[in-house]
Amino acid sequence: MHVGADMDRTLLLISTLLALAGAVWGAVSVHRGSRTWWTLVLIGGAFVAQLGFLELRGEMRGACPLRDRGEILVFLAWSLTLFYLVVGRPYRLSLVGLFTAPVVVLFQALALWPGVMTLQPERSVGVDAWREAHAAVSVLSYGAFALAAVTGVMFLVLDRQLKDHHLQSGLFRNLPPVRELLAAVKRLLWIGYGLLTFGIVAGAMMSHRGGWSHLIAAVAVWVFYGGLLLWQQWRGVTGRRLSLLAMVFFLLSLGVFALV
């Protein structure tokens, strides 16, 4: 048990350092105006270490490792990394890695902060399948929302550079086109929204020992994102507003985890 407890944090530390190296290496390459595969390799390594961490914690818990805020933060970081690897790469959004890595580092550094994560996790008894599905799918949806927010930041950077005619930086040369960034934000919001919908349905089916406040907050997040997507789909919204709202909604939605 002690070995596992030490090993899980060791893996998390390795994952955080790899993501940090990916962020630094990516930033240096972009500053030089060159492209690099190392960011992808380092973030891929961080992803593998995250999987190792979650596997160990899952074994200790005997359930999905989403029982304390530290685990939720790591699961969120893993989900964000997963969406970067699955969605970001095929859509030529290579620079998303550079913007994703600092968020992963932040979440995991917070999880490693003393007192945030239980060092000796208790084994769960009487696992509720709906609860497990609710927790896992909901956090996965926040990973998609997080990446939408990250991609929104990229859009805002590019938009400012194009508006101000500042076109000489390595960052400008490496950023994907405006239209692709906006398409990625929309796509990620829809994916996140679909997953959150399933997570909320599962949440409504599970037993509610701790009250309904968490589920009500999740439904509020669902309503906000749904409103944004409907607004965007039917009436249209500028790229700047879509990106800003994707960022604001994601930051506000993190409040849901305070009610876990």
Binding site: H165, P177, V178, R179, T238
Partner: protein, 326 residues
């Protein structure tokens, strides 16, 4: 036998001289073979583009005068020998000697000229090794330095910006306001990169029709340009109007219909066609002719700064190669 280059180019000879000695691409091999028959040289390659005609031979120093005479005399010619000739060829193939610094077309033209001479059977040990080495050095110079980075003409800057906004242009539609030459060239550049359709609005509808036909596009009556604004992604302004044509309220009126999609204005008219206040609209990116020219000029300056790096690379690579005839 040593390597010799004799030639004339856009710096040494005006176009009326250059055109006298230009050789059609299909005749390059024949020209090299003729040359070897007339002058006492072992090998020959003739390169001919709109900006230069150059002859590379493996022969004696005495052949320089004869080669210069073939190109109209020493007045408009230059000659290089041994290592200087090899360096010159590498500079030419790398675009360092071109009118537009770093341009890529010349590399293919040099390659074609060498292929023609090779097929005509007028190259051997000296020129074969020289040209093969030149092509690898040319590739290295282009990939490892910034000699071809950035667009150096207004049209190319506009196209690069359009791709930065829209990615592939195959889903993009373009409207030209004014049927002038600059707008035609810019629109053609966008079309060559895949722009889906072109709309031409001009005060003279006949000229709009004419240009639209040339570009496989659609003519629009000038009073209807605002209707088309709702659907296009790129607007090129180049009318000769003494005042601005497109104002903020024109764009505001179609924003909702456009679903707030990005809109790129390229204003190459003087006086300007697009009111600068249009750029205050969130999804609008506006570039006027001064901004485009400044971007092109910055790229030219950046390329010029790379010349020294490229020349150093060329000399190092040639010295390593230890080619015969140098």
């Amino acid at each position: 036998m040593e390597l010799i280059c004799v030639g004339l180019n856009h710096r040494t000879a005006p176009v009326e001289v250059r055109e006298l000695f230009a050789v059609a691409p299909s005749k390059l091999g024949e020209a090299a073979a003729d040359l070897r028959a007339k002058i006492d040289v072992e090998e020959a390659v003739v390169i001919s583009t709109c900006n230069r005609t150059e002859i590379y031979v493996s022969g004696e120093e005495s052949s320089i005068v004869q080669l210069e005479e073939m190109l109209g005399g020493a007045e408009h010619c230059y000659h290089r020998r041994k290592m200087d000739a090899a360096v010159h060829l590498c500079r030419v193939a790398s675009g360092l000697d071109s009118m537009v610094l770093g341009e890529t077309e010349i590399f293919g033209q040099v390659k074609d000229a060498y292929q023609a001479a090779l097929q005509a059977g007028v190259t051997r040990g000296v020129l074969n090794r020289l040209f093969q080495r030149t092509f690898s050095i040319g590739k290295k110079v282009r990939t490892e330095t910034g000699i071809q980075e950035g667009a150096t003409s207004i049209g190319n800057v506009a196209v690069d910006l359009a791709e930065k906004i829209f990615g592939h242009l195959k889903d993009s539609e373009v409207m030209i306001l004014g049927a002038g030459e600059m707008s035609r060239v810019t629109a053609q550049s966008l079309q060559s990169r895949g722009a889906r359709s072109i709309f031409v609005a001009n005060r003279s509808y006949d000229r709009a029709l004419d240009l639209a036909q040339q570009m496989n596009g659609h003519a629009v009556r000038f009073e209807d340009w605002q209707l088309v604004l709702a659907q296009v992604d790129v607007v090129i302004g180049s009318t000769g109007a003494p005042h601005t044509i497109v104002h903020k309220e024109h764009v505001e009126e179609v924003r909702r219909k456009r679903k707030y999609r990005p809109l790129f204005f390229i204003d190459i008219a003087v006086p300007r066609d697009i009111d600068p206040a249009v750029a205050e609209i969130e999804e609008v990116y506006l570039y006027d002719i001064d901004t485009l020219e400044q971007i092109a000029n910055e790229a030219r300056v950046r390329r010029a700064k790379q010349i020294e790096v490229c020349e150093l690379m060329i000399r190092e690579e040639l010295e390593k190669a230890k080619l015969p005839g140098l």
